[in-house]
Every structure is written in C-alpha cells, then in structure tokens.
Amino acid sequence: MVLVDCNKKQLDKLKSDYLPHDSEALYFHADCANEEEVQKYVEKTIDFFGGVDVFVHCAGIVGSIKEADNWSAGEIMVAFQTNIMSVFLNSKDVLPIMKKQQNGSILLLASVYALRGVPYHSLYAMTSHAILGFMKTAALERAHSGVRINAIAPAPTTSPFMEEVEKALFPSNPQLGREQIHSYLPFERYAEPEEIAESVLFVSSHRAKYIHGTSHIIDDGFLAK
C-alpha cells in the first residue's frame, strides 16, 4: 500500500492505530493537488514497488453549503483544485505506468451528487459531475490497454466530512442537520466507510475486468427516487 494524505495527524494515526505494524506500506504526507508532490510520490512508489496495480483516489472536500449564487470565485477555485485538479494530476502520472504494465485499475471517488442535484451543494455537485466526465473520457481512450477506469458514487457516508455538512446546515444544532440528511436517505442512515470499501475492492479486482467507464453506485436507493 502507498498511502497519501495532506493531513499529517490523521496519516500518523492511520499508521499507529489502524494498520498492523509490520504491514509493508509507504506513507506520504503530500498535497494531491500539487503537481510536483504528486510526481514525487508516484516516482518513489515506482522506485520502491516497481509499479501501481490499483489507484484509488479519495482526496476531496465538500466545501461550504450555500445557494448556487453565493460562491466566491476563490471558493470555486479551491474546490476545483482539490477535487478535480488532483484527479487529473494523479491520473496523469499513474496512467502511463499502468499503460506500460498493460494492467491496472483506477477508481475515482465521486458521489451520488455526481448524478443528481441536492439544494445548497452546487459546488460539490459540480466537481462530482466533473469527475465522471473525466472518468468516462479517459476510459474510452484506454479501452484496449488493459487499464480500467471507473468511479464510485456513494451516498453520504459516516465521516468528519458529513459532520461538517451537518454543522453547516444547522450551526447551533448539528444533530438536526444529521436528521435532515438521514430523512432523505431511504435506509435513514449513512453508508459506512467499510461498505464503500467492499465495492472498491470488488471493482478494482480482476473479478470486475469488464467493468470499465462506469459509476458504481452505493446509495440505499437514494438515486432511485
């Protein structure tokens, strides 16, 4: 495993609390939206492991929660940089390696907001939609290369990310925010990260070798209604 995050504290915690101490993993404290840093960790990965078989891109931010005409150009640029530029920069360095290997699977974490709108989430929905546009196009360019590219589209998932959204919705009572979000999820609960992980594992495995250019939805029926 090669584990990259710009949050040093969480990365250290991952290393010390969650993963067995003898697990062979590289940790990079880096910014996935910074071209030089991406180049560096991809290069080091190749030096150390010799290739990349699976690339899962989870880096992203939700931004704040407000009406579509209330964003500043600066906020739009930050979201663009983190959610889209990072997809592009990582793919740009990882794709040629996988192409040479004639093998590899890229998974881009989008969200259900990539497939529908939700009031006050225009910025997040915009960047999520954009990820699918990139994924589909790159998939068609690589259809014969043994490299597969797909997206994962989860419903809101238990995470600090959603805690922020809850707070943004009802600053004085985030619990109300949570209830509101749960009320539009058919199962009336968030997805759990482990439930997303199972799908990521499946789609990145050889068992999904004809699954390419698609969005894998994990949403308890949220998009069906």
């Binding site: 589909k136 199972e198 699954i211 390419h212 250019g213 698609t214």
Partner: protein, 255 residues
C-alpha cells in the same frame, strides 16, 4: 463459501447466463432452485452441475402466474425460504424497425422479459420480507440505458425493467430486502449468435463485427464476468446497495 446453505433461485437457469450462475453459486455452497421452461435444457444443466442432485430443478413457464406461485410455495415448503432471486429469463425479440413490429410480438417480449420478473418478484418478496432479509436481481441490458436501431422492443423492456427495479427497491427499503439490476453489454451467447445471423443472414461474421464495433473493449462480455457482479451484489458486502443499475459494459455507455 459465501452462500453456504443459502437458497438461491435462478429463473431461465438453463440459458447461458443462468448456467454460469448456477455453477458459480453452487461453488459458493448455495442450495439452488433452478427454473426454466425448457425441460430438455434443464436436464442437461442437471448433468453439468457437479452436485446436481443437491439442487431442485423445476420446469415451469415464468409468464404464468399460477406456475410461479406454485414453485415459490414448493421452494418454501422444501427449503424454508428464498435468500436470493435472480431473474434471467429473457428474449431479444424482433430485430427490425420499430414501425414494423407487430403488437402481438411486442406483447410477447414484454411478457417474457418484464412480466416474468414481476411475477417472480411478486411471489418471492413476501417470503423474503417475512425474514427481513433477501436480495432480488433483475437482468436488464445496456439497451435499458440507451437505444440501438432495430432493437426498440428489447430496449423498451430493458428500460422497463430498470423502472420496475427502482420503484420496487424503494418499496422494500424498510423491509431488509435489496433489489438491484445488472446491466450487461452484449454477451458471448447463443442469443448473440442468433442476433449476428439475423443482422446478416448470409454473413453472420459481419454481424459480429458490427456489434463488436459498439464495444470499446472490442470483445463480447463473458457470462463468467456477469456472475462475479451478481455474486457481489447478492452478498452481504453490498448491504448498502439497493435500487441501482450495476453496469458491466466495458465502457459502452460511457460514449
């Protein structure tokens, strides 16, 4: 063995996909209930399955309300429940311009591809809801998401299945039953061989080239590649997945 002693009912079991699924689920320890209207093909399937004697084979027409009710009841009598239902009955129907299809033929495709799935759902879902657990899978096709000249009948019913699946999934959200569809690209099968021949009776190879031309990966999907997705969706690993269309198409709907 992920499906040890789980009761898995497969309709259209003697077909290409049904056969691949039967073999795969048996490997995972499932108790199989295999339905097909073609008795002869069902007997052949029995011979092909390594532990054929552990499975229940029921020749029946899934378009017939009474027959469906009967085999669902029989399954519950014998095995106590149904954990997974996979609807694989389907025909491609007339391959011609939409205006040339007879209403009789349109109805036939609708009955075979949609009504069968509906009836199996109708009788299996109460069994599952009683135990607050179960998984139902429909087999649609990429033509449930896009059109193709000369395939309007097949495209109609493939779209219809997805509509049914989404609403049924929402009906079931509080009852522990998940409902999803797999959406495969054209698959290496007798079905596609027939289609190639219908497209170019004198030169089916041309038909094949034309279809492969639609597929970014330049080859047909294999039945074994569909079974892996079905297995995943039917498993507890997919417990938050309901009401979705699981596309297996090598990039076909990305363009």
């Amino acid at each position: 063995m992920e499906f040890q002693d789980k009761v898995v009912m497969i309709t259209g079991a003697a077909g290409v996909l049904g056969t691949a699924l039967s073999k795969r689920f048996q490997k995972e320890g499932a108790l199989l209930v295999l339905i097909d209207k073609d008795k002869e093909k069902l007997d052949q399937l029995a011979k092909q399955l390594p532990n054929g004697s552990d499975s229940i084979f029921i020749p029946a027409d899934c378009r017939d309300d009474e027959q469906v009710k009967l085999y669902v009841d029989k399954t519950v009598d014998l095995l106590g429940t149904i954990d997974v239902l996979i609807n694989c009955v389907g025909i491609y129907g007339p391959i011609t311009q939409a205006s040339d299809i007879s209403s009789h033929y349109m109805m036939d495709v609708y009955e075979t591809n949609v009504v069968t799935s509906f009836l199996n759902y109708k009788y299996a879902v109460p069994v599952m809801q009683k135990r607050r657990s179960g998984c139902i899978l429909f087999v649609s096709a990429v033509f449930g998401l896009r059109g193709l000249p000369f395939f309007s009948a097949y495209s109609t019913v493939s779209h219809a299945l997805l509509g049914f699946m989404k609403s049924a999934a929402l009906d079931c959200v509080t009852s522990g039953v998940r409902v999803n569809a797999v959406v495969p690209a054209p698959m290496k099968s007798t079905m596609m061989e027939e289609v190639e021949e219908i497209l170019y009776p004198d030169n089916p190879i041309r038909g094949r080239e034309q279809i492969l031309g639609l597929l970014p990966m330049g080859r047909y999907l294999e039945a074994d590649e569909v079974t892996e997705s079905v297995l995943f969706l039917a498993s507890d690993r997919a417990r938050y997945i309901t009401g979705t269309s699981h596309i297996i198409d090598g990039g076909m709907t990305a363009k």
